[in-house]
C-alpha cells in the first residue's frame, strides 16, 4: 500500500515507520511532473503598407512577453497574463489562456481574467503609485511628506521598533497584512518571516474582513469547501445564495451560464435584482437577513414531503444522534457509564434496540476515524428511555425529531413567507426543485459571512445540501471557497511548522494515518505558538471599539447576557487570546497590502482612539491608500509585474499562477521580500549598535533582537538583498510541492500557470478533503462520503445540533432564523453592498480608467420608492447617516435595488469622500457573542479560523439630500 502523502508532515523517519500501516490512504498517487515545453513561437513580419493602416499595426507590437499576475491584489481569482513589454515598459497585458480542460464534455477555463487585470499596467504607473520612501513631516493624514533614503527610513523605523520592544515587549509591535493579502511566494514570505523573527503581534483578519464562514466551522469543523469552477457545469441546480458572482467571479461565471445550456437551472437568492440574477431561471427576492428562514422552510418542505435522502442523513449528519430531553445535551458516555468519555455520543440502533456509540464521533474509542455505520441501523426518529450511570433514567430523542418539531412549529412556508417576503408557493417550488435535481449546489462564497447571523444562513444551507445528499458529490453541495495545498509552502516561514514534541506526539497517529481531526489539533498547536489576535478582539480591547460594541442597541436580544460578559468569559477561559495583553498597549503598527482605515467598521474610532497610542505607523505599499496617508513612513514596494511572486491559489482553476518580473520597479521601490528582509536586518543591526540584546518576546519569553535577521534568513540561508533570491525561495517551494507541475522557480515563472497535478497535505488554509487528479473536475469533501472519514466535529458528522452551553442559552443549538440587533433600529434604511465590479478592495479604486467606467466618484444605489419621498433624484448627492457617523455620495436611482436598501459597493477610499468620511463611518458592525465560544470540539479559535466576524452589512441609516 502506498504511503499517505499526508504523513510527510511529520518528517521522513515517521513516514518510514508508517509504511504499510496507513489506514486513511487519502493521497495514494505520486504524480509525475511533466517537463514544461513553451509554446513554439511564430515569426511574423512587420508589414508596412505605407498608409494610414500602419499606425494601427505599429500599436500592436512588442519587444518581449513575460508571464504575470496580480499576486497581492487579494483577488479570489488567479489568472495568468501575458505582459507585453515595449521600450522597457510593461505596456499591456492579455490573458495567457493556456488552461487545459478536465474532460471532453466540460468547457475549459479559458481565457480567465477581468477588466482590472487587463489594466494593471496602467495602475502600476498611475498617480497613486509610490516610488520613494516617504517620511511624514506634517500631521498624520495631512499629506505633507519628505522623500528620504531607505537607510534613513529603515534606521529610524528600526530604532523605534527597538524602543517599543524595550518598553513593552515585541508584542507591542503589531503587524497586519490583512490576511489573504498574502501570496504563496516571496511576495509574502518576507513579511511573514519579519513578523515571526521579531515575534510581533499579528492581526488575524480572516474574520476581520468578514470572510469567516462560522456556520461551516460550527457544522463541518472546517470551511474549505469548493472545487474547480468547471465542476459547477456538472450541477443540475445551481443556487447562488447571497453572493454576486457576476461581479466577484468574473473568470468563472461562464461555467454557470454554460451549465444552463446543459439544461441546469440557475437560481439566485438576493434581495436586489442583482447582476447575477439577470441570467437566472429563478430569482428569489428574499428580504435581507431572512435567508435562514427561507432555508429552514425548504427543509420543512423536504422533510414533510419526504424529499430527503435518509441514507445520507443517517450516515453523514448528526440528525440520528440522541439528545437528552431533560437538559438538551447530547447523551454522552459519561452520562451512562462511570468514567465514560464526554465526547462519545450515541445513536439508537434499531438492529439492537439499544444505544450505540456513534462511530466517528470524537470519543468513539478509535480516535473517531471512520463514520461508517457498519451493521448499525440508526433510528432517525423516536424517543427512547436510557438508563444513566447513577441508575436514573432519562428520555432521549433524535436531533432529527427536534429539528422537525422546530421546523413544523416555526418554518412552514406560510410562516417563512411572512419573514422572507416570498410567496409560500415559491418556497415550495424551490424546495421541490432542489430536492428533485440530480445534483444541486449552493454557491455561497464569502458573501455568506458578512451578515450578523450569517452562520445561521450557512447552517440552513448546509442542512439543505445534507438533506438532499449533495455535500461531497460532483456538482453538489454548499460551495464557499478552498485553496490548493502546496507542501513546499513550508519554505515561506522562518520557523518550522511543528515542534519536536509535537512531532513525537503525532507519530503514533501518523502511523495509522492522520485524520482531519488530527490535523485540526496540529493547527491548534501552530496557532498557539504565535501572538496572533483576531481583529475584532484587538479592536475591542485596544482600539477603542469596546464602548461602541457594548452599546445596548447592538446586543442580540435573544441572548441572556451582554457582549461584555461573553468577551470576559472567553478571554478568561483562554478561548480567545489578545495580543498585546490587555494591560499593555500597541506601540508600533506596520501594515502591508491592507487598508485598515478604509475597511474597519466606523474607522473614525480607530483614527481617534488607536492611532494616538501608536508611536510609529509604517505602510509598506505600492500605492497611496487612505491608511497610508495616515502613516509615518511609506516604504514603496514593487508592483506585481516588477517582482517575482506566486498568487495564492483558490481551487477555481487547477493551476498555481506565478508572476515573473517584467520590468524593474520605478524610482527606489523594492520587492516586498527585500523590504521586509531589510527591516529585520536593520532591527538586528541597530540592536547591536545600541547594545540592546534581550527584550520580552512572545509570551514575554526573552528574545535577542540581535538575532532577528538570522532568524529571518534562517541563519543566512537566504539573502533578501540578492535580486534573484526570491527565485531561489520559489525553487524550494516548487521542488517540495509534488502536487504541482513545476520543478523549479524559474520553470514556474516561465509557465505562468503551473498545473495542479495532485493534492497537497492539509495545511492551515487548505483542508478540502478531496483527492484531485486532472482528468476530472474537482469538488470538495469527497473523503467524507467516499472514504467515510469522520468530519472534524464532535459528532464526526455534519453537525446541526450544537449543545455548547452558549448555543443552548442563545437559542441556536439548532439552526434558526433570528433578526439581527439592528432590525429594531429607528433608522429606516439598511446599508448593503458587496464586492464591486471595479476594484479589488481599494486597489484600482482611484484609477482613472476604472472611474471613467463608473460615475467618476462613489455612489450608492437606491430604489425609486425610497428616493421619491425624500426628494432624491438620480445623480443627487446625498448624506447617508445615523448616530454613529455619515458620508456623502451620489445616488443612482435603480429599479433593480430593493426598497429599503442602500447599496454601497465595496472599497471606496475614504479620501474619495468629502472630509474623507468614508462609507464605514456609520457602520457599527455589531458582533455575535457566540462566535467567542470555545472549549467544544469544532468550536474554538485558531489562526484563520473561528474568530468573531466583522459584519458590516445591514447598518441602519437614514438618507437625506446633501
Amino acid at each position: 500500500m502506498p504511503i499517505s502523502r499526508r504523513s510527510f508532515i511529520i518528517g521522513s523517519a515517521a513516514v518510514a515507520a508508517a509504511g504499510g500501516l496507513v489506514l486513511y490512504n487519502l493521497r495514494p498517487r505520486t504524480p509525475v511532473k511533466p517537463v514544461f515545453q513553451p509554446a513554439p513561437s511564430v515569426v511574423a513580419q512587420r508589414v508596412r503598407y505605407n498608409d494610414f493602416s500602419d499606425i494601427w499595426r505599429e500599436k500592436w507590437t512588442w519587444d518581449k512577453v513575460v508571464k504575470g499576475t496580480h499576486t497581492r491584489a487579494n483577488c479570489i481569482s488567479a489568472c495568468s497574463w501575458d505582459v507585453y513589454v515595449k521600450d522597457g515598459i510593461a505596456w499591456r497585458e492579455e490573458q495567457a489562456a493556456i488552461y487545459a480542460p478536465h474532460r471532453p464534455d466540460v468547457p475549459d477555463f479559458n481565457p480567465r481574467g477581468c477588466q482590472k487585470g487587463a489594466c494593471y499596467t496602467q495602475l502600476q504607473l498611475a498617480e497613486s503609485r509610490v516610488t520613494h520612501p516617504l517620511k511624514r513631516v506634517g500631521e498624520r493624514g495631512e499629506g505633507k511628506w519628505k522623500r528620504v533614503s531607505w537607510d534613513e527610513a529603515l534606521t529610524d523605523i528600526a530604532d523605534r521598533i527597538i524602543d517599543a520592544a524595550i518598553e513593552q515587549g515585541t508584542e507591542s509591535v503589531v503587524f497586519d497584512d490583512g490576511t489573504t493579502n498574502a501570496g504563496y511566494g516571496p511576495e509574502s514570505a518576507g513579511d511573514m518571516r519579519f513578523a515571526q523573527a521579531l515575534q510581533t503581534t499579528r492581526i488575524d483578519s480572516w474574520a476581520g474582513v468578514s470572510d469567516m464562514p462560522m456556520g461551516a466551522v460550527q457544522t463541518w469543523g472546517l470551511y474549505n469547501s469548493e472545487g474547480t469552477a468547471d465542476d459547477w457545469f456538472l450541477s443540475d441546480y445551481i443556487v447562488v445564495w447571497v453572493g454576486n458572482p457576476s461581479y466577484t467571479r468574473i473568470p468563472d461565471m461562464h461555467f454557470m451560464h454554460e451549465a444552463r445550456y446543459r439544461g441546469a437551472k440557475l437560481v439566485v437568492i438576493a434581495p436586489d435584482y442583482s447582476p447575477s440574477a439577470i441570467h437566472s431561471d429563478l430569482w428569489l427576492n428574499v428580504k435581507p437577513e431572512t435567508d435562514a428562514a427561507l432555508g429552514l422552510a425548504c427543509a420543512q418542505v423536504m422533510i414533510e414531503e419526504k424529499l430527503f435522502k435518509p441514507g445520507y442523513v443517517l450516515e453523514q449528519t448528526d440528525l440520528p444522534f440522541l439528545v437528552r430531553t431533560d437538559n438538551q445535551h447530547f447523551l454522552r458516555q459519561s452520562d451512562v457509564e462511570r468514567g465514560g468519555a464526554d465526547n462519545a455520543l450515541y445513536l439508537w440502533d434499531e438492529a439492537r434496540n439499544a444505544i450505540v456509540v456513534a462511530p466517528g464521533c470524537e470519543g468513539d474509542g478509535d480516535e473517531g476515524r471512520s463514520l461508517a455505520l457498519g451493521d448499525i441501523r440508526p433510528a432517525l426518529s423516536g424517543r427512547f428511555e436510557v438508563k444513566l450511570a447513577d441508575g436514573s433514567s432519562v428520555e432521549v430523542e433524535t436531533v432529527f425529531d427536534r429539528l422537525r418539531a422546530q421546523l413544523d412549529a416555526a418554518y412552514r412556508p406560510e410562516q417563512a413567507a411572512a419573514i422572507t417576503g416570498l410567496h409560500p408557493d415559491t418556497i415550495r417550488t424551490f424546495a421541490r426543485q432542489m430536492a428533485a435535481a440530480r445534483r444541486s449546489m449552493i454557491f455561497a462564497s464569502w458573501g455568506a459571512c458578512k451578515h450578523y447571523h450569517s452562520d445561521l444562513f450557512q447552517r440552513a444551507m448546509m442542512l439543505l445540501m445534507a438533506l438532499t445528499g449533495n455535500q461531497g458529490y460532483q456538482g453538489g453541495g454548499v460551495r464557499i471557497a478552498a485553496w490548493w495545498g502546496m507542501d513546499g509552502l513550508d519554505a515561506i516561514a522562518s520557523q518550522s511548522a511543528l515542534t519536536m514534541m509535537e512531532k513525537l506526539q503525532i507519530i503514533p497517529k501518523a502511523i495509522r494515518g492522520l485524520t482531519p481531526r488530527d490535523y485540526e489539533k496540529v493547527f491548534m498547536g501552530m496557532s498557539e505558538r504565535e501572538s496572533i489576535v483576531p481583529l475584532m478582539v484587538f479592536l475591542y480591547v485596544h482600539a477603542g471599539y469596546r464602548e461602541m460594541w457594548d452599546e445596548q442597541h447592538l446586543q442580540d436580544p435573544a441572548l441572556p447576557r451582554h457582549l461584555r460578559e461573553y468577551v470576559r468569559e472567553s478571554l478568561d477561559r483562554g478561548w480567545m487570546k489578545v495580543y498585546p495583553p490587555e494591560d499593555r498597549s500597541p506601540k508600533v503598527y506596520i501594515f502591508t497590502g491592507c487598508n485598515p482605515l478604509r475597511r474597519w467598521p466606523a474607522a473614525q474610532i480607530a483614527r481617534e482612539k488607536l492611532w494616538p497610542k501608536l508611536d510609529l505607523v509604517v505602510s509598506v505599499n505600492f500605492r497611496m491608500s487612505t491608511s497610508t496617508m495616515y502613516a509615518d513612513y511609506v516604504l514603496p514596494v514593487a508592483g506585481y509585474y516588477e517582482k517575482y511572486g506566486i498568487k495564492y491559489g483558490q481551487t477555481y482553476v487547477p493551476y498555481i499562477i506565478c508572476s515573473d518580473k517584467a520590468t524593474e520597479p520605478p524610482g527606489e521601490a523594492k520587492s516586498d521580500w527585500e523590504t521586509f528582509g531589510l527591516l529585520s536586518k536593520y532591527v538586528a543591526e541597530r540592536a547591536k549598535a545600541r547594545g540592546v540584546s534581550e527584550v520580552r518576546g512572545f509570551h514575554d519569553e526573552p528574545l535577542d533582537l540581535r538575532t532577528v535577521y538570522d532568524r529571518h534568513t534562517q541563519n543566512g540561508k537566504s539573502d533578501p538583498t540578492d535580486p534573484e533570491d526570491p527565485v531561489k525561495l520559489m525553487d524550494a517551494i516548487f521542488a517540495n510541492s509534488p502536487s504541482v507541475g513545476a520543478n523549479s522557480g524559474r520553470e514556474a515563472l516561465d509557465m505562468g500557470a503551473v498545473p495542479v497535478i495532485g493534492t497537497g497535505r492539509p495545511s492551515l488554509i487548505y483542508q478540502n478533503y478531496s483527492e484531485y487528479d486532472n482528468d476530472d473536475t474537482h469538488w470538495p469533501h469527497r473523503d467524507f462520503v467516499e472514504k467515510k472519514v469522520a468530519w472534524p466535529t464532535l459528532t464526526g458528522r455534519q453537525q446541526f445540533y450544537l449543545d455548547h452551553p452558549w448555543y443552548l442559552e442563545g437559542g441556536e443549538s439548532l439552526p434558526v432564523h433570528k433578526d439581527p440587533p439592528l432590525a429594531s433600529s429607528e433608522f429606516p434604511l439598511r446599508v448593503y453592498g458587496g464586492h464591486n465590479r471595479w476594484s479589488i478592495h481599494a486597489i484600482w479604486r482611484d484609477l482613472k480608467l476604472m472611474l471613467q467606467l463608473e460615475r467618476g466618484q462613489p455612489v450608492c444605489f437606491m430604489n425609486p420608492r425610497d428616493c421619491a419621498p425624500r426628494g432624491i433624484a438620480d445623480g443627487d448627492m446625498v448624506r447617508v447617516h445615523n448616530n454613529r457617523g455619515e458620508f456623502e455620495c451620489m445616488v443612482k436611482v435603480a429599479a433593480a435595488t430593493a426598497p429599503g436598501e442602500v447599496i454601497v459597493y465595496h472599497a471606496w477610499e475614504p479620501y474619495q469622500f468629502k472630509q474623507w468620511k468614508g462609507p464605514t463611518e456609520p457602520i457599527e458592525a455589531p458582533w455575535k457573542a457566540l462566535h467567542l465560544a470555545g472549549g467544544y470540539s469544532q468550536l474554538h479559535y485558531r489562526m484563520f479560523y473561528g474568530a468573531p466576524s466583522h459584519v458590516p452589512r445591514g447598518a441602519a441609516v437614514e438618507v437625506s439630500k446633501a
Binding site: 509554446a39 511574423a44 513580419q45 508589414v47 498608409d51 494610414f52 499606425i55 494601427w56 500592436w60 507590437t61 512588442w62 512577453v65 501575458d82 499591456r92 492579455e94 495567457a96 489562456a97 466540460v106 468547457p107 475549459d108 481565457p111 481574467g113 477581468c114 477588466q115 487587463a118 497613486s128 500631521e139 499629506g143 468574473i250 461562464h254 445550456y261 446543459r262 435584482y273 447582476p275 440574477a277 439577470i278 441570467h279 431561471d281 430569482w283 410567496h423 408557493d425 415559491t426 497611496m624 482611484d846 482613472k848 471613467q852 467606467l853 460615475r855 467618476g856 466618484q857 438620480d874 443612482k892 436611482v893 435603480a894 429599479a895 433593480a896 435595488t897 430593493a898 426598497p899 472630509q915
Partner: protein, 342 residues
C-alpha cells in the same frame, strides 16, 4: 457582398454577458490609450434598458430610415462621457489634509460611457436589465462610408472591416452623424474620426480581436460570415438565434446578438408568473426586430431538449466547450508571435 471578398462577423451571446467590461478595457489599452483618444471606447457595454453610449444614441438618427440615407445627431463628447481629470497629486501631497478629497475636477460630470450601469428598468420586483456590448458593426451597408464626402472610409476587401482612412479624413464628422449606432469618435488632437478597426492587425496574424479573445464570459464568437463550419454561420443562418441590433437602421450589421432571457416575473401576490416574460417582448422587439421572439423560442426549446438529456447542436455551440473554437480559425495565441522587420 459587393466589393469585398469575405466579411468578418461577430456574434455576442447576451445570456453570458456579465457586464464586466473586460472587452472595453482590452480594447482601450490596445487602441485608444494615446493622446486625443482619452474619451474613446471603441467597445462599450451598457445596461439595457438605459440611455447608453452616447447618451440616447438610439434616438439620434442616422442610417437609412425608409431606405434613405440620413444624417443624425452629431454626438457631443459629454454625451459619450469625457475623460475626467482628477486631483490625485493635491490629495496625496498637497498638505491639505481632509479639506480636499479625490474627485473629478472642473465641471461635475453628468454622463459617462457606463453611467447608468446596473440600474435597469421595470418596477421592483419585476425589474429587468441585461448588458449590451457594442462595437462598430462593420456593416455591409455602412452609413458612415456612404456619408463621407471625402471617401475616407474604406471597407477592406479581404475581410469587410470598415476603417477610417486617416490620410483622407478631414474630421468633417458626417460619419458620426450618419452612423445610427454612434460608434465613431472624433480625435481632437489628430482631428480625424476614429472607430473600431475590428483589430485588423490581429486578424492579419490569425489572432481574434482583443474584445473577443479577452472576454472572460466567453460571449463572443468571431469568424467569417459565410464559414459554414464555424459558429457564426450556424448561429446566424442555420439556427437563426443571432440577430442584428436595430435592423431597421438599414445598415446590415455584421455583429449579431443572441437575445437575453430572464428569470420568471412575479404577480401582484408574489407568485411566479410565467404568463409573460420579465423582459417585455416589445422591448426586445424594439431592439432586435420581430424575429427575436422566434429566436427566444428556439433557444428555450433547445435548452429544454438539453435538460432532457438530448443532444442539441445549438446548446453545444453556445456552451463553447473549447474556447478556441469560438474564433472561426482566428485562434493564434498572440504571445507566440515574434516580430521581425520585413
Amino acid at each position: 457582398m459587393p466589393g469585398i471578398k469575405r466579411q468578418m462577423a461577430m456574434v455576442m451571446d447576451l445570456n453570458k454577458c456579465i457586464g464586466c467590461q473586460t472587452c472595453t478595457v482590452a480594447c482601450k489599452t490596445l487602441w485608444t490609450a494615446s493622446e486625443g483618444m482619452e474619451h474613446m471606447f471603441f467597445n462599450t457595454v451598457n445596461t439595457m434598458p438605459g440611455e447608453g453610449t452616447p447618451r440616447g444614441w438610439e434616438a439620434m438618427g442616422g442610417g437609412f430610415p425608409g431606405g434613405e440615407a440620413q444624417l443624425g445627431k452629431l454626438p457631443a463628447i459629454g454625451e459619450f462621457g469625457d475623460a475626467w481629470k482628477y486631483n490625485h497629486e493635491e490629495v496625496f501631497y498637497g498638505g491639505k489634509g481632509q479639506d480636499v478629497h479625490l474627485g473629478v475636477q472642473g465641471e461635475a460630470p453628468t454622463w459617462g460611457p457606463n453611467w447608468d450601469e446596473d440600474q435597469g428598468g421595470g418596477e421592483f420586483p419585476n425589474s429587468f436589465f441585461f448588458y449590451l456590448p457594442r462595437l462598430c458593426n462593420h456593416c455591409t451597408h455602412p452609413a458612415c462610408k456612404e456619408a463621407c464626402p471625402r471617401g475616407a472610409i474604406e471597407k477592406r476587401e479581404a475581410d469587410g472591416v470598415v476603417v477610417v482612412n486617416e490620410d483622407r479624413c478631414r474630421g468633417y464628422r458626417h460619419c458620426m452623424e450618419a452612423c445610427p449606432y454612434k460608434k465613431i469618435y472624433f480625435n481632437h488632437v489628430s482631428q480625424v474620426s476614429q472607430k473600431c478597426i475590428f483589430c485588423f492587425p490581429r486578424l492579419e496574424q490569425g489572432v481574434a480581436p482583443a474584445c473577443a479573445r479577452q472576454c472572460p464570459g466567453r460571449v463572443r464568437f468571431v469568424g467569417y460570415r459565410d464559414d459554414q463550419d464555424a459558429p457564426i454561420w450556424k448561429l446566424v443562418d442555420k439556427w437563426k438565434v443571432a440577430l442584428p441590433l436595430h435592423p431597421e437602421f438599414g445598415t446590415e450589421p455584421n455583429v449579431f446578438y443572441v437575445p437575453p432571457s430572464a428569470p420568471a416575473r412575479f404577480d401582484a401576490d408574489g407568485r411566479m408568473d410565467e404568463s409573460k416574460p420579465r423582459i417585455p417582448d416589445e422591448y426586445l422587439v424594439s431592439l432586435f426586430g420581430e424575429r427575436v421572439l422566434e429566436a427566444l423560442q428556439t433557444l428555450a426549446g433547445e435548452r429544454a431538449k438539453a435538460a432532457r438529456g438530448e443532444r442539441s447542436e445549438l446548446m453545444d455551440l453556445l456552451i463553447a466547450y473549447r474556447w478556441q473554437d469560438m474564433f472561426g480559425g482566428f485562434d493564434r495565441d498572440p504571445q507566440t508571435i515574434k516580430w521581425v522587420e520585413a
